[in-house]
Every structure is written in C-alpha cells, then in structure tokens.
C-alpha cells in the first residue's frame, strides 16, 4: 500500500515517455492495438489508484466510519497514506471523473452530428466529392450498420494522378474499415481522465495514419505511389489557407519517409510489446496489492469497532461441532456488514459481543500487520 498504490500513477508517466518510441518501433497496426490496450489499462489503474487514495481520506471522516462500522481512530493510526495525500487523491479523482464525463458528452455529441451529416450526404456510393477549391480529404464514419463515406474535394482529386487517387481512396477506406475513430475515442477519453496520457493520444493519431498508409500501399501494390500521394496532397493543402483545426494526422514527412523505406518487419519477439505488457501487468498487480492491503487495514478497523468495551464479557468461540446450518434457530444475529461474505458463522470463527449488538467477524483472520497496528486500548481481545 505504501508504494504499490502509486505504481499505476508512475506507469502512466512512464508510458507517456515510452509511447512515442513504441509507436515507431512496432508495425503500425500492432502499435495501434498496443496503445489502445495501454490507454485502457492505465486509465483503469489511474482511476483505481486515485479511488483508493481518496478512500483512505474519506474513511477517516467519523460519519462515514460509523456508517461502515469501522473505527476511524484505528484506521487513521494504521493507514500508511498521509491524510493530505488522500485528500489530493480525492481531488484528483473528482477532476478525472469530471474530465471523463465532459469528454464523453462532447464526443458523443460530435459523433452524432457527424453521423447525421453522413446520412444526409448525397448519393449512396462510398465517395462524396465536394465542389471546393481547397484540397480536403477525410473519412466520415457511419454508424454500427452504415458503412461510412469518404469525402474528397475536387481540387484534391485534380492534384493527384490516377494511381495516387486510388491510394488516397484506399487510405481513407482503411480508416473506415479499421474503425479508427473508435481508437481515437479511447485515446481521447483516457487523456481526458489522465492528462499524462496526452502524448499517448498524439502518438496514436500518427500510428493510425501509418496503419492506413500501409494498408493503402498493400492495396495499390506500390509504396512509392502512396508516399507521393501523401506528399503531394500535403503540399497542395499547405498552399491554401486552411481552416483552423487541431492537426489529426501525424507528421507528414515522417509518413512519407516510412513509405519510401522498406515495409516494417514483423519481428518474432516484439520487445517493445513485451516491455509494455510487463509494465501493464505491474500496474494491475500493484493495484491489486494496494487494494488487498487496504482491505486488511479496513478489516482491522472493523475488528476494533466491534471489539467489546473494557470490562465486557470476553469473546466466545463457536464450538467445533456447531457447524453452519445445523441449527438455524440458534444462529446469532447476523453480521451487519458483509452479509454476502459471511452467510453464517462457521466453526472456529470469532464472535464479538458488545452491549447491544452481536457481531460475527469474518472467519478470515487479519494479517499480523493489521493486528499489530490496532491500538492497545481496544485490544482487550
């Protein structure tokens, strides 16, 4: 808990640095999937770690402790996370959730506007040509059933030759077929939840363009044709004033250079992929570890809360023969917490009897660490 809860935060920082390199080392298709998985896992880890930190702060509030039937004093004493760190975690969680919600709403709105426009486009073919003097080419993704459309302006078509036009169409077709807008949505959402993942989203855009370029090269059968199409289109577009838009494509010269180079090799053991996988496993593992530690501390605080006050009769143990379910009528009052976990007391489980209530404590014993951390005033048992 002391360290492991911070590991997901560290992993996202490392990924922010590694993602661009990963994107260049791997074949684009594989890189896109790797980046998407990394974004999903790291965002989940990030939110989980923030939630854990936030919990350590919130659980010390007496009202919440009373509701949860644990001792706030014991929890504060046993908790390795400082209060201000917990509060910062709560603030971070709030910010992440707000960012996520805002981005979600914006994206859904943008996607539905685009889908509406897509449905209104003239004709039923794949290509829609705009009678427009500024060179423009993009893909409009359709819905779940609708195939999506390719939109190209007249001036873009006239600045390319026949094979280059085919390359352009194949490129946009690859975006539609690969549903690249969904990858974009994942990266944008994760960047909204965790600003450290913004570089990852940036590399993602580049990787998707590379993926479509490679796909187009495959279809056209000549890499240099695609390279020329990309370069010419970019040069034509840069000559005319363009609308202000965040650049979505990658660096064009890099794409052209990659297309003029031999195709990316599929290595048998992709080391960057392996390293990324290990990093993500570390992220998940440490989060699980932190959660379990947190649970143990909470268990100890619950023991403390239900421990009898000084002078009360000592706790009793259910005799071994009295197995669960044998005598339903003799069952003590059921546990108020973890009803699902503790259906009925088992033989050997510890009973706490306080003045007004009878508590059944989980058959699972708390760890030594948790027990040691319970202050001695409540340790009459």
């Amino acid at each position: 808990m002391r360290i492991s809860v911070y590991v997901p935060l560290a992993v996202s920082a490392v990924l922010a640095v590694l993602a661009p390199r990963l994107a260049h080392r791997l074949p684009p298709r594989r890189a896109a999937w790797a980046l998407a998985c990394a974004a999903l896992v790291t965002t989940a880890g990030w939110l989980g770690a923030l939630a854990l930190l936030a919990f350590t702060a919130l659980a010390r509030i007496p009202e919440i402790a009373r509701q949860g039937a644990w001792s706030a004093a014991v929890l504060s004493a046993a908790e390795p996370v400082r209060l201000f760190v917990g509060v910062a975690g709560a603030a971070g969680l709030l910010a992440a959730c707000t960012g996520l919600a805002v981005s979600c709403v914006r994206q859904v709105r943008a996607a539905s506007r685009i889908r509406r426009e897509c449905a209104r486009l003239p004709g039923d073919g794949e290509l829609v040509v705009l009678d427009d003097a500024s060179p423009e080419a993009f893909a409009l993704p359709g819905g779940l059933r609708a195939p999506g459309r390719i939109v190209v302006s007249r001036s873009m078509l006239s600045c390319l030759d026949g094979r280059e036009r085919e390359a352009l169409l194949a490129h946009e077709r690859a975006h539609l077929r690969g549903r690249h807008h969904l990858f974009q949505a994942v990266w944008r959402l994760s960047a909204a939840a965790n600003p450290m993942l913004r570089p990852l989203a940036g590399s993602g855009c580049y990787v998707l363009e590379r993926w479509a370029d490679e796909d187009a090269a495959d279809r056209v059968g000549d890499r240099s044709v695609v390279a020329r199409a990309v370069a010419r289109a970019a040069l034509a577009a840069s000559g005319t004033p363009r609308r202000s838009l965040a650049a979505t494509g990658g660096a064009v010269p890099r794409r052209v250079r990659a297309l003029l180079a031999p195709p990316p090799r599929q290595r048998r053991l992709p080391l960057p992929l392996l390293a990324g996988g290990l990093l993500l496993a570390l992220c998940c593992g440490s989060l699980a570890d932190a959660t379990m530690d947190n649970e143990e501390i909470l268990d100890a605080a619950m023991y403390a809360a239900c421990a009898p006050p000084l002078g009360a009769p000592p706790p009793m143990t259910i005799p071994p023969g009295d197995q669960a379910g044998d005598q339903a009528g003799d069952q003590p009052v059921m546990s108020r917490w973890r009803r699902s976990a503790v259906a009925r007391p088992k033989a050997g489980s510890l009973m706490c009897v306080s003045n007004s209530r009878t508590w059944t404590v989980l058959p699972r014993r708390p760890s030594r660490k948790a027990l040691n951390s319970v202050p001695s005033t409540t340790g009459s048992w």
Binding site: G123, V129, R154, G221, A234, T248, G249
Partner: protein, 119 residues
C-alpha cells in the same frame, strides 16, 4: 499487383476520375485513366450509367456514345455543409481522419526533397 476491387470501390474510382478531369470524358477515356488495365469497357459503361441514374453525373452526346461529367450543383451545396462540420473543434476532428495534416516550412522543404528521391 494490387487486389481485385469491389464494385463500390470501382464506382468511387470512376467518379474520382470524372471529377479530376478538365472536361467531359467518354467511357473509353475514363477506362484509360483508371489505374489497372484489367477493366473492361462494358464495366466502365455500366458504372457510368449507374452513376447517371443516381444523378451523380450528367451526360451529353459525343459521337456514337456519351461523354460524362460530374453533377456540380449538389456538390457545391455539400461542400458548404462539410465546411461547417470541419470547423467543429478537436472532438469532431478526431472522428474525421483527414488524409494530411498541416505542414511547417521545414516539413515542406523535406517533402520536396523526398518527392525528388521518390520519383
């Protein structure tokens, strides 16, 4: 080289060729300008008449056959709507995967250099 094209892809190719041309084209001229030499004249003709039926191209008599050119009215109208769509900020931009992004002066110089090598 390349793969067999689906009918929808061929239609896009024919339409793109008509738009890229300076004037009306006959079916034979469209066939010449389409990449790949495996296209039969009748295939191109079929696609052209299908596009004509949909109102995407116009035609006029040229000798024994027709010369085709794209229908521009609707395309101008669509261009306006798409201009609105493109001005919608980064969230829309992320959904519309554009073919090329903006270039810096350095990028332009590099591209000219690369084009020289690539040709």
């Amino acid at each position: 080289m390349g793969h067999r094209r689906a009918p929808g892809e061929l239609e896009s190719g024919v339409l793109a060729t008509l738009w890229a041309a300076d004037g009306p084209l006959t079916a034979a001229q469209v066939g010449e300008r389409l990449p790949g030499d495996d296209l039969a004249y009748t295939t191109v003709l079929t696609i052209l008449s299908r596009l004509f039926d949909k109102g995407m191209v116009m035609r006029q008599r040229a000798g024994r056959g027709y010369a085709y050119e794209p229908a521009r009215d609707e395309a101008a109208h669509t261009a306006e709507r798409m201009r609105d769509l493109l001005d919608g900020g980064p969230d829309r931009a992320a959904v519309l995967s554009r073919f090329v992004s903006e270039l810096s002066a350095e990028d332009e110089r590099l591209l000219h250099e690369l084009l020289g090598d690539g040709r």
